[in-house]
């Protein structure tokens, strides 16, 4: 249950809720606040309810079995249509005149331009069925036995139903009322899809003996990438409508020039990192009793255009890994406040006396060497996040002292690894190295608390082994990339390279 809530609120970017959607509250409007609320209302919940994930009720189960689509040619018909790729520029409503994009969006979308909203909605109405049909087709081509898995079948049905309901809706979107109806339909669909990734994960976990690992990986990669595109289109249509709605109903002039639908044109990564880091630290505190400091340095005043929900997911996932590895490595090495160097050979500065509570530190570009090395009062060396703004991209480097990744595990970290969750969820235990966390640390925090850590942190699918591969897909989606370097015995460096979206507005096809 905790899982479902988190997933819904991260992947579904709980549409920008009007005036609260600005820089500082950006994330809060999304998953963090809700998740934290979830945790504060019952942290015991988070630690105990995740052993069995109930994705559907009995009645739903019955429904799944009723899916009959063999004689339905409509899917094939749609799936055979070409995908009409769209540039992000169009989605942002920026392509309508020759003026510079900034001016255009100032007077355009931010002013709640109905025409743009209509354009996007019409595009979504036309395009979504085709893309959904292709996803359905791809699922139909899975081995029969895989298709009969209840989780896979459930996903299949979700897509099938969504396809049906969109194609059943009126084709013409003429006015505001049509728009509202369509947006409401999309919103419902998006919400109903919140559990898709965990369900897929669970489904393929159960199917792994029927399909080659590479085939599963290829299928999931394609599926998730397609899904990101579909959601982006749908969410843009929804949020544009909501922004317009806000604008029309509120008398104040719109304060959010820099937010266009799901895109933020002046996103400050430092702020987002700070928010994500605090969130991750708190959950780490809950689960481990302590957490490392996060130091943000480099060009901390960088701003760029990006989809904040994507970046938030990526950052939470990476920070979660870094923080967890640091703490677990501290346990392993015996690092503590009294013995900050642990038993290991690496040497660090003596612990800081920085007052607790202020555990995310932003330092200036000319950063103090010491800050990045000094362990905190628990003996955890800090996680260092460095922001760099290049000509065409923003790079974020996350360094931890979490001992790195063992050689054996390293090759698998970008697989859709099913192992970390198997012990808890898969009753048919096949002997494997499944009891290792992806960080290969033999943690004393096996079982419940670790699972809670995984389920509670970083959103929807953590702990199902989807974290890193999914993170990379998100990072690559707008032409960026993600690299992870493991310094075994020391720590990990992750390089997250993100293209500025507005740089590639013209040729970025979604």
């Amino acid at each position: 249950m905790g899982l479902r809530l988190t997933e819904r609120n991260t992947i579904t970017p709980s549409i920008p809720a009007g005036p609260s959607w600005n820089n500082s509250t950006l994330v809060q409007s999304s998953s963090v606040v809700t998740s934290m609320a979830l945790r504060s209302t019952g942290s015991s919940l988070a630690t105990t309810t995740t052993t069995k994930r109930e994705f559907f009720t009995n009645s739903e189960q019955k429904e799944v079995e009723d899916v009959v689509s063999f004689y339905d040619d409509k899917v094939t018909q749609y799936a055979n249509q070409e995908i009409q790729t769209v540039t992000l520029k169009t989605l942002l409503g920026l392509g309508r005149s020759g003026s510079s994009s900034h001016d255009q969006h100032q007077q355009g979308v931010a002013a709640g331009d109905l025409a743009i909203n209509l354009d996007v909605a019409r595009y979504a109405r036309k395009e979504l069925p085709v893309r959904l049909a292709r996803l359905i087709k791809a699922t139909q081509k899975l081995p029969f036995i895989v298709g009969t898995n209840p989780y896979i079948k459930r996903v299949y049905k979700l897509y099938y139903d969504s396809f049906q309901s969109i194609t059943a809706s009126p084709e013409e979107i003429r006015d505001k009322d049509d728009l509202d109806r369509f947006a409401a339909l999309l919103k419902g669909l998006v919400e109903s899809h919140a559990d898709v990734v965990p369900m897929l994960s669970q489904g393929f976990l159960e199917c792994k003996k029927y399909m080659a690992k590479e085939d599963i990986k290829r299928f999931l990669d394609d599926m998730i990438r397609a899904r990101i595109g579909i959601r982006l289109i749908a969410e843009q249509a929804i949020s544009l409508r909501e922004q317009r709605h806000e604008h029309e109903t509120s008398s104040v002039e719109t304060p959010h020039d820099d937010i266009v639908g799901v895109v933020h044109t002046e996103l400050r990564p430092a702020d987002l990192i700070k928010t994500c880091a605090s969130f991750v630290q708190e959950l780490c505190d809950v689960n481990y009793g302590s957490s490392p400091e996060v130091v943000i340095n480099g060009q901390t005043d960088t701003t760029f255009t990006y989809v904040p929900v994507h970046l938030e997911y990526i950052l939470c996932e990476l920070l979660k890994n870094a923080v967890r590895a640091t703490v677990e490595h501290s346990q392993k090495m015996g690092r503590s406040a009294l013995n900050p160097h642990g038993n290991g050979p690496d040497r660090h500065h003596p612990p800081t006396n920085r007052e607790s509570g202020n555990s995310v530190v932003i330092v200036n570009q000319d950063d103090d060497q010491d800050v990045t090395k000094r362990p905190n009062e628990f003996g955890h060396p800090p996680v260092e996040v460095t922001i760099a703004q290049g000509d065409h991209e923003v790079t974020i480097r996350i360094r931890d002292h979490g001992g790195g990744i063992s050689r054996e595990d390293f090759d698998a970290i970008f697989d859709y690894s099913f192992t970390t969750v198997k012990n808890e969820n898969d009753s048919s235990s096949e002997g494997s190295s499944s009891d290792d966390s992806p960080y290969g640390v033999d943690s004393i925090f096996k079982g419940v608390s670790r699972l809670a850590m995984q389920a509670g942190l970083g959103g929807p699918i953590a702990g199902l082994g989807f974290g890193l591969p999914l993170t990379r897909i998100y990072a690559q989606y707008f032409g960026g990339d993600m690299h992870l370097v493991s310094l075994q015995g020391y720590g990990c460096d992750v390089f997250l390279k993100l293209k500025q979206i507005d740089e590639s507005l013209d040729d970025l096809q979604i």
Binding site: G298, Q299, H341, P345, D346, R347, H348, H349, P350, Q365, D366, Q369, D370, K373, T386, I387, A388, Q389, G390, D391, H392, E393, T395, R397, G404, S406, R407, H483, V485, L487, Q488, G489, Y490, G491, D493, F495
Partner: protein
């Protein structure tokens, strides 16, 4: 006849060789035999490789030998001549090197009168057949054999067009180190390279004689591990040394043959490029020379073998510059990916051969040194078993700082901080790590000096942070700088030899490259004081900060002697005196060639990666444009990974 004196060589490769080459020789000569003597001689002269192959048939395989015996006319060759010439002068007790052979060929051509007693080609062939069969052994055993009449050789020359002969000799001589060639003093190899010669490449015989390569190409390389080298090199005994010699003797031709085949698979137009052709020639000659050597049974033979290999290593110093220039000029003819693959294969194979050769040579010279039992201070040949990250980073950072200071006209390079497991210890070939670290640090310093934002308070450049991490199997050096990073367009070309061909343009200016640190830091001995000592400052707490302080200062560092400035890194040899000859091949590049330290060759990074990958490590560079660059050099610390060698 000479056959009786032939030792029964049992080497596997020679037996393989003999059967292949004898049949080859046979078919060829049959087709020739009906021609006039002059034509035949000309044909024979243009088939040096084939003949050199057939000289290998002297391995006691009587069937093959007798089959060959019917085709005597083929045997007037450069190799034959070089052999006979050596015998006639009765001076050579060691292996005749190629250049000696070729120059003596030229000598014969110019100065010897036709022997009066030889009047027909058949007779000449008859006799020369004898020597041809003898020559490989004679090269090593001249002291056991009385001089034979050898003027037969010259009898064939008058019928040859001399100009052609000279061309061939010149090319070959130039390819080798020039100074020891009495007739053809070529002080500037580059000038010769510019004139494509070696017409024999295009002769049909070159194509057919290529068959002698086949048995070698078909043999798989026997890769080794560092650990094997270490265990083998401990407690060197005579029999072990000979074993090592014979391993090198049989392995080098195989590895060379694979690379020669790679050359042959290049597009034809590329093969006609003079630079590529020169390297190809060098490889062929090296292949022939080593393949000809019979089994090494005595220490004297081993010494001779080492001398020969040393000569080859020296000759091959031109390979990297020539390859780079060749690639640069051919980039429009081959797809970039193929070029990159070809180059890294070449470089990797080159490392592999040099490791084998240098290891053996160093073992030999250590063994020969009178107190070789005392010499085990952790060095086993060129391998050092107690490499400490602290020392090696210190040394290379110092050198890189010197280089950067000189290149920038005295600007102070950034400091280098060192942390992590700096006292870890592992076994490796120090040359390889030093090359990589030097390149990385030099690059970092260069970028920081160009783009680094100075501390407003102190005016200091942002330091370079080197972090050493020890894993269960590996040691990683992370070199992290704040030099502004690499532009995305540059980044895509970081590892490619072909995508930015102009990057090799500076190779026009140097002719030799050993790809070692020594040659890059070799400085005029007049300025040893510019070397900056390291200071280890205990910053705060236990952190190990290694700081490069602002320049000249007095040299206070006890571990770094100015007198070593010329070869500060050469710590392999147990004793400097005894190792003088050993190091001569690795530091043969003249300092002047690198005098212009800002000479950016563009090969440092790809070459570093080839080095890093060689023993199973790797080198990765991640850059944050607008901020800095992190480079990760990983080395396997157990040395149990086989050579990364693509056959």
């Amino acid at each position: 006849m000479a056959m009786n004196r032939l030792p029964q060589t049992t080497s596997r490769c020679q037996r393989l060789y003999s059967s292949a080459s004898s049949s080859c020789a046979f078919s060829l000569t049959t087709s020739c035999s009906s021609r006039t003597p002059a034509t035949t001689a000309a044909v024979a002269r243009r088939t040096p490789r084939l003949i050199s192959g057939s000289t290998m048939t002297t391995t006691g395989n009587k069937t093959a030998a007798s089959a060959l015996g019917q085709c005597r006319i083929v045997t007037r060759t450069k190799h034959y001549l070089s052999g006979t010439n050596t015998i006639s002068s009765s001076t050579a007790t060691t292996i005749t090197t190629g250049r000696k052979g070729y120059s003596s060929l030229a000598t014969a051509a110019h100065s010897h009168q036709p022997h009066p007693s030889i009047t027909n080609a058949n007779a000449a062939a008859n006799t020369s057949r004898t020597y041809q069969q003898e020559s490989p052994q004679l090269l090593h055993r001249t002291n056991q054999q009385s001089s034979q009449p050898i003027h037969i050789a010259s009898s064939t020359f008058p019928s040859m067009p001399n100009s052609n002969l000279n061309t061939t000799s010149t090319t070959t001589a130039s390819a080798y180190s020039p100074q020891s060639s009495p007739l053809f003093k070529m002080n500037n190899p580059a000038s010769i390279v510019k004139q494509p010669q070696a017409r024999r490449r295009y002769s049909p015989q070159h194509f057919y004689q290529n068959r002698i390569l086949d048995p070698y190409v078909h043999q798989a390389v026997s890769p080794i591990t560092l650990r094997q080298l270490v265990f083998f090199g401990r407690n060197m005994q005579e029999d072990k040394l000979l074993k090592s010699a014979n391993y090198v003797r049989t392995e080098l031709p195989i590895r060379l043959a694979h690379r020669i085949r790679d050359f042959q698979n290049l597009p034809f137009i590329v093969g006609t490029n003079p630079h590529i052709e020169l390297v190809y020639d060098l490889y062929w000659q090296a292949f022939e020379k080593i393949a000809k050597v019979p089994e090494i049974k005595t220490l004297e033979e081993n010494d001779a073998f080492c001398e020969m290999v040393k000569g080859l290593l020296n000759d091959h110093l031109v390979v990297i510059p020539q390859l780079a220039l060749g690639i640069m000029e051919c980039s429009k003819h081959i797809p970039a990916a193929q070029v990159d693959q070809f180059m890294s294969k070449m470089l990797r194979s080159r490392i592999s051969r040099r490791v084998l050769a240098e290891q053996h040579i160093t073992l030999t010279s250590n063994f020969n040194s009178p107190n070789h039992m005392m010499t085990d201070r952790g060095y086993i040949g060129i391998i050092y078993t107690h490499i400490k990250p602290r020392d090696i980073v210190e040394r290379t950072a110092l050198l890189a700082a010197d280089t950067c200071r000189q290149a920038s006209g005295g600007m102070t390079p950034p400091k280098v901080f060192l942390d992590g497991n700096i006292d870890a210890e592992f076994t490796y070939i120090p040359d390889h790590i030093e090359y990589i670290l030097y390149e990385l640090l030099k690059n970092s310093m260069r970028f920081v000096m160009q783009n680094g934002k100075r501390d407003p308070a102190t005016g200091e450049l942002p330091p370079i942070q080197v972090t050493v991490c020890e894993g269960t199997h590996e040691i990683v050096f992370r070199v992290s700088d704040k030099g502004g990073g690499i532009h995305p367009e540059m980044e895509s070309q970081l590892w490619s030899y072909a995508q930015s061909p102009a990057r090799f343009a500076n190779f026009e200016k140097i002719s030799k490259m050993a790809a070692t640190v020594q040659e890059q830091v070799a400085q005029p001995s007049s300025s040893p004081s510019t070397s900056t000592p390291f200071q280890e400052t205990d910053g705060q707490g236990q952190d190990e900060n290694i700081v490069l302080p602002p320049p000249p200062a007095a040299n206070k560092n006890p571990t770094y002697h100015p007198s070593e400035a010329a070869m500060p890194l050469d710590r392999h040899a147990p004793s400097r005196n005894q190792s003088a000859q050993t190091s001569s091949f690795s530091t043969a590049t003249s300092p002047q060639q690198y005098k212009n330290q800002s000479l950016h060759l563009g090969i440092g990074l790809p070459m570093s990666r080839v080095y890093a990958e060689y023993w199973g490590g790797d080198l990765k560079v991640f850059t944050m444009h607008g901020y800095g660059t992190d480079a990760y050099a990983k080395f396997c610390k157990f040395g149990n990974i086989y050579e990364n060698f693509d056959s």
